[in-house]
Amino acid sequence: MITVENLSKHFGPKVAVDNISFEVKKGEVLGFLGPNGAGKSTTMRMVTGYLPPTEGKISVGGADVVDSPIAAKAKIGYLPENAPLYTELTVQGFLNFIGELRGLSGAELDKAVNRSMDLCHLQGVRHQSVDTLSKGFRHRTCFAQALIHDPEVLIMDEPTDGLDPNQKHEVRGLIRRMGEEKAIIFSTHILEEVEAACSRAIIISGGSVVANGTPDQLKSKAKGSGSIRFQLAGIPATTAKSDLEALNSIGSLSVDREEENTLRGVAFPNSGQSARASEEIFNYVSSKNGLLQELAVVEGRLDDVFREITSSDTEASSSAA
């Protein structure tokens, strides 16, 4: 649905986006991650046709955004950063306006406006002027605007910014549900959101893509991901320690607690062998008639991956500058 090839954007001498390529298919939800100023918004603005790219090609649903902007824009629903709205209009007036610009009219327009107000829980404030709405309602009004024409492609710049935890939860659910039949890109710097709603995530830093994969793939890049935490009893600790170290799949062992008959620590398996290693530990303990009190594969945290990838990058660029 969305294809971005070698996209770059320069603002004068500043390179905001540097040769980014990615693809989003129907049924995919792509999360855009990155520190502030990484180029997330700039990329989205180019995909939606707001900013002209300096270089590269963007195609949305087969329409080139630069060559046939109107055809491309018609397929996109866009929620810009900070959810801008015309403050003098009522919620319904605003949605009617957007719907009409989207080419809807008459009964079709009424239906679309009602549907998007239902989705975003706006029926209660439909006759209220946007001016008088709280931030959460404003945000949802702008969200409703993006959904009004039931677009094939949905692009959202920080869709949960400024919402309370319940609303955040609801919006994530909505994104996940809609993601089944649309192609969705959304940016965020809340990492749990990526796990909650995305099928794939891209981490952007300094204008380039530094990681691209499913949330699980990204997590496995974290230091310590795939290691095995264990605690066993009933086997003399020194024996257990040397036996475990001797296992084929285990590279090294770090022991936290070593008592007479109890051993607690983390085993670092050789790469890609974490499932095998936990199996071997289990078999070893049972063959010795010991008691396995804990055995868990440590999952990497997206937080750690994000920090590792993006902070090394900013350090590198600041030392270069």
């Binding site: 046709g49 866009y78 801008p84 003098e88 209009l89």
Partner: protein, 247 residues
């Protein structure tokens, strides 16, 4: 123009009009325009003292009032979009920027039209008191309308440049003032005294010169063409500014 173009322009116009009338701005401006135009005509223009029944006294002051009125009407057209950030919404809609430019210009022109239209009691009064040449009055109204919307087009350009309504109002007001003054006989004479011939040339670029022709009742196509080309140029310039601002 195909039907979808018209529909998009009309959608924008409708929304702009709704914005104008949902705040006191348009109402206040129209009332002030009526008070000033009527007040000037009766108090300073000596509308009732003229021997012949005509609206000359009324039309005399109209460009000066529009000099303030049009920037006040037009200042929000694009500044507001910049300020609210809605430009990003508008420019990602499946419409051409021209639809937005035309739609907004039309909405502002409607305000000017309504303001002028509401001066009809003067016309009735004059007709009741005497026997004016309504053809001249009609030509005068056309001239006044053209001056008004020309000033709007100029204001639109400035408004596209800044997110501040105050700045766009003040700058536009000075530009409109310049467009009047360059045709004012005293100014023309003094510029001519400085660099001979320049004053006359500048006067050709003044709205006042062309407006005066129209208020005499002469609908000359060259005068109308003048207004049309200034408006066309300003709208084009607006499009260029909006485009470069995005890049």
């Amino acid at each position: 123009m195909n039907s979808s173009t018209c529909r998009h322009i009309w959608t924008i116009t409708k929304k702009e009009l709704r914005s104008y009338f949902s705040t006191p701005l348009a109402w206040v401006l129209i009332v002030v325009f009526l008070l000033l135009s009527q007040g000037f005509a009766f108090l300073f223009g000596g509308l009732l003292e003229y021997q012949n029944a005509s609206l000359a006294a009324f039309f005399l002051y109209v460009p000066w009032i529009f000099m303030v009125f049009a920037p006040a009407v037009g200042m929000r057209l694009w500044s507001e979009e910049h300020r609210l950030g809605t430009m990003e919404l508008l420019m990602t809609m499946p419409i051409s920027p021209w639809h937005a430019i035309m739609g907004k210009f039309l909405a502002a022109a409607v305000i000017v039209f309504v303001s002028l239209f509401l001066t009809f009691p003067v016309l009735i009064t004059i007709n009741w008191l005497g026997d004016p040449d309504n053809g001249i009055a009609f030509a005068g109204y056309i001239g006044a309308f053209l001056v008004g919307i020309t000033f709007l087009a100029v204001t639109g350009v400035i408004s596209a440049l800044t997110r501040s309504m105050v700045v766009s109002f003040i700058v536009a007001l000075f530009l409109c003032l310049g467009m009047i003054m360059s045709g004012w006989p005293i100014v023309v004479a003094s510029i001519d005294g400085w660099i001979p011939g320049l004053g006359q040339k500048l006067a050709q670029l003044s709205v006042l010169t062309h407006y005066n022709e129209l208020t005499k009742g002469i609908l000359v196509s060259s005068d109308i063409l003048f207004f049309a080309s200034v408006i066309g140029f300003c709208l084009y310039l607006t499009a260029v500014i909006l485009k470069t601002k995005r890049a």
